[in-house]
Amino acid sequence: METKLKKVDIIFEDDKTSPITILEKTIKRSADEIILDLIDSGLKGRGGAGFPTGLKWKFTRNEDSDVKYVICNADEGEPGTFKDREILDRVPEKIFTGMAICGYVIGAKEGYIYLRGEYNFLLKTLQSKLNKFNGELKQKNIDFAIYLRSGSGAYVCGEESALFESMEGKRGEPRNKPPYPTVAGYNSKPTVINNVETLVYTTMICHMGPEQFKALGTNDSRGSKVFSVSGDTPIAGIYELELGMPLNQFVDEFGDGDTKAVQVGGASGHCVPRKKFNDTIIGFEGIPTGGSMMIFNSTRSMYNVLHDYLEFFTEECCGQCTPCRVGCQQLLKGIEAVKRGERSPSYLDDLKNLTTTMKIAAKCGLGQSVGNPFNSIIDNFREEIIY
């Protein structure tokens, strides 16, 4: 079948330039120039929230502090996302390089990779590659070193402030914001925290210049991104694709011909039903994703899908704030009650109202986004929930 999707090869490409060479070349330029290039490239965070990377670095650079940190968020825990694992496995030097460039730009001497607990099988090889990289930095008199930290399996620790708490040896619970990490992150010092993939793109933008990156994607969603494609597809896997694609093209390429819905952005993302495939753009102007694309065909019960997601959030919420801790339980038990006929179908509307409160009153992104799958599945598959 002919495809209209543009496949890209930036993240994993091997043009024989060693990352350390990219680093050496880059740090000959001024920090402000690098920031301007990043802003010009339009790169936004690839973890899902999409904050402009250049601005994040700029804000942190502008903070007056002797100690700053660069942190690579490798706590890839969103259900359906597995692209960082591949990046960490295949091109870790590109991540290290992005961190070192960031260290140079913001004035940090230490970087940390917070590795998802379940990815501990990567620790050994990562550490040895890191030792080599740190050795090279030392040799070249670059005052920066990267250390590894292992998470312990809590989903919420992927939330940046919970990640800092976890790194500091405390319970992984999100903090109140402000202050934001650029002002007070790890150890309350100005911190850049970037997703694995974002850091690789910064390396590559520094290497190839912003133009090539900018030429990809749309106005709001520049560049490409690595997608984790899973579910009812014959070709599950990792794909780097241009951003801003219409969902129907994606389904044409990856679906099994019987696609009923696509969950874009993992459990905390949106569920798009077939009838909306044509109007849905994958990108910051449409539905953004940290990479997860879960495809469901007509054999799947959307009640089960939603039930699984809600079970996941009920268990993985840190438990500190009321809207999330109790809200998740109410949503989960609520759809069970409707299914069993103990509550009338209209109770789903009470629950939808509750997600509005969760969205605006929960302390962190976890509780705020539970309404995404809930509402998009209830709105589009209401009958599957009730009957």
Partner: protein, 597 residues
């Protein structure tokens, strides 16, 4: 550093506040009340209950006003439709996981969640009942604190109290998501963990999840039992706080009315722990001087300095868990409550011709650790349990209400005699620094024959709310028998709240500090801020109670413990002398090391 003023509007009303101020405080400046649950003036900001959310114009989400700082030009709405719906939802959610059997709750009528539910007129529950039936099993293992997880709203005020104020963390957050709860180490019974029994968590729990182990019914039963002679003793700090639970303003002294109410409740005799506070000064002051002599003159290596006070049972248990290597530093004096119990069932029982086994001793205490203390096996020197029941200030207020006594209209009465006479030195035991001040008033005079060189006997350097206070008093022109103290700088330190105590102990252990005498009170502010005192508490409330304690002292005809005529009499007719044989048997005790887990 000068702080900038930030201009903002709250509900369209302009207000200027210092940068760094929270939205909550800015709103308070405009007399706007925003409800809170996890927020507490003594604790760091948590921002986890979310009840205080407000709308900030232009913001994607609501802000937790307790945690969000103001910014220039900010427009805040505390009661918009969005806010109201969210807030009501949050209260409904909290109620859905809360055992809202309010009529059977010890905190019925004193519950912040109940108040909010009432304010928002939460009717029939919209949401499903999520109360975990297992949590309904209360932990009643501790004689001091009762923990009921089915009432817990996870605000973590107790967790922060135990960690930040007390430095213990007997309570901590465990598990996550729907299994998140506040628990002891490995969920062991409270009586089996490092809990000091201070009850500060109770003072800050917004609901009935943490309450005192109450003994009201037991005390009523004793009062109604014609075969029992029930005497009651009242601690120094109860008389300046009881009124708060009976509709009176904070800081109102109610000594005479409290005595009157106790008589009306039916106690056989109303006596005063202040009497044994004075006695403690004689015993402890003598112990200090003896230790100093042994150390300075006899060069006796077995004598341990600094000597540390032993009045506060929360502090004692803390020390037994955390610094067992410093137990010899503790004064061997029992607390005034226990000295009272031991004397009541011996000396006093003889005097009034009542058999000790027919006597019930009840204490009214600002404290819940005293409930544990009275059950210690060491506290049976009369041959019986010296003190039978301990009630908190709060429990006494409940009994007064139950008895239909109009506390505002009853007259004032005097304590019965004997064991009812006291001095100003005794009443200041209720405030941090008070034991030190009382001890100095007496010890200085014993050694020099002169009053302490402070205006009106008020030893200001040991007063106040600083976490750790230090003072040095030069001893000059001593009596001949105390010549070894001539020219000595007596170095003292005072800590209140166990986190401060820990800091002080670390200084002692490292040898950084060179003190002779240390006073520690387990609770912030001392007994006036005790775990059995009326709720709420705050720095302002504790300040007002402290002021009341010192004016109680200032108004006493006698202000020095050694001048208490009943104390003089008890030595003459019964005890002999301080640290004498009888004192040793009845008024002194020992301590035991405890594990941390």
């Amino acid at each position: 550093m000068n702080k900038y003023l930030v201009n903002l509007k709250v509900n369209n009303m302009p207000v200027s506040v210092e940068e760094g101020t929270t939205i909550l405080d800015a709103a308070r400046k405009l007399n706007l009340r925003i409800p809170t649950l996890c927020n507490h003036p003594d604790l760091t900001v948590a921002g986890n209950c979310r009840v205080c959310v407000v709308e900030v114009k232009g913001a994607r989400v609501l802000a937790a006003s307790c945690a969000a700082p103001v910014s220039e030009g900010m427009e805040v709405f505390t009661n918009s439709e969005k806010v109201r719906i969210a807030r009501k939802h949050i209260v409904e959610l909290l109620l859905s996981e809360h055992n809202a059997d309010c009529t059977k709750c010890f905190k019925n009528g004193h519950c912040e969640l109940q108040d909010l539910a009432s304010e928002y007129r939460i009717g029939d529950h919209v949401f499903l009942d999520l109360v975990n039936q297992e949590y309904k099993m209360q932990d009643i293992s501790s004689p001091s604190v009762v923990k009921d997880d089915s009432k817990c709203i996870r605000c973590q005020r107790c967790v922060r109290t135990c960690h930040e104020l007390q430095g213990i963390s007997a309570l901590a957050v465990t598990n996550k998501g729907d299994h998140q709860r506040i628990a002891t180490f490995l969920n062991k019974p409270l009586n089996d963990v490092v809990c000091s029994n201070c009850g500060q968590c109770i003072n800050r729990c917004p609901t009935g999840a943490l309450t005192e182990h109450n003994y009201i019914e037991e005390v009523w039963k004793a009062i109604y039992d014609p075969s029992k002679f029930v005497v009651v003793q009242t601690a120094p700090a109860t008389r300046i706080a009881l009124g708060e639970d009976l509709g009176l303003p904070v800081g109102e002294r109610v000594t005479g009315r409290m005595v009157s109410a106790l008589k009306k409740l039916g106690f056989s005799k109303v006596l005063d722990t202040d009497f044994t506070a004075d006695l403690t000064i004689l015993e402890e002051g003598t112990e200090l001087l003896t230790r100093l002599k042994k150390a300075l003159v006899d060069k006796d290596d077995s004598v341990v300095l600094p000597m540390m006070t032993s009045c506060s049972p929360g502090w004692i248990k803390f020390q037994e868990h955390m610094y067992p290597e410093l137990l010899d530093n503790l004064s061997t004096c029992k607390s005034p409550q226990q000295m009272f119990g031991a004397l009541a069932k011996t000396y006093y029982a003889d005097k009034i011709n009542i058999k000790a086994q027919d006597m019930i001793v009840v204490s009214i205490m600002p404290c819940v650790a005293k409930k544990f203390e009275c059950e210690r096996t060491e506290m049976r020197d009369s041959g019986y349990q010296d003190v039978d029941f301990v009630l908190t200030t709060r429990e006494l207020a409940m009994m007064i209400k139950q008895a239909g006594i109009d506390f505002n209209k009853i007259g004032e009465e005097q304590y019965d005699s004997i064991l009812g006479e006291s001095t100003g030195a005794a009443v200041i035991f209720g405030a941090t620094g008070g034991v030190m001040e009382a001890a100095l008033r007496t010890a200085y005079e014993i050694v020099t024959g002169r009053e302490v060189p402070f205006t009106n006997l008020n030893i200001q350097p040991v007063r106040g709310m600083e976490g750790i206070k230090e003072a040095s008093i030069k001893i000059k022109n001593v009596k001949p028998e105390w010549s070894f103290l001539e020219g000595v700088d007596l170095n003292v330190a005072i800590a209140h709240g166990l986190a401060n105590a820990r800091a002080l102990m670390e200084k002692v252990k490292s040898g950084e500090a060179n003190y002779h005498f240390i006073e520690v009170m387990g609770c912030p502010g001392g007994c006036i801020g005790g775990g059995g005192q009326p709720i709420p508490t705050s720095p302002e409330i504790r300040k007002l109670r402290t002021d009341a304690i010192y004016s109680e002292d200032a108004n006493m005809p006698l202000r020095k413990s050694h001048e208490n005529p009943e104390v003089v009499e008890v030595y003459k007719n019964f005890l002999g002398e301080p640290l004498g044989h009888k004192s040793h048997d009845l008024l002194h005790t020992h301590y035991k090391p405890r594990k941390r887990y």
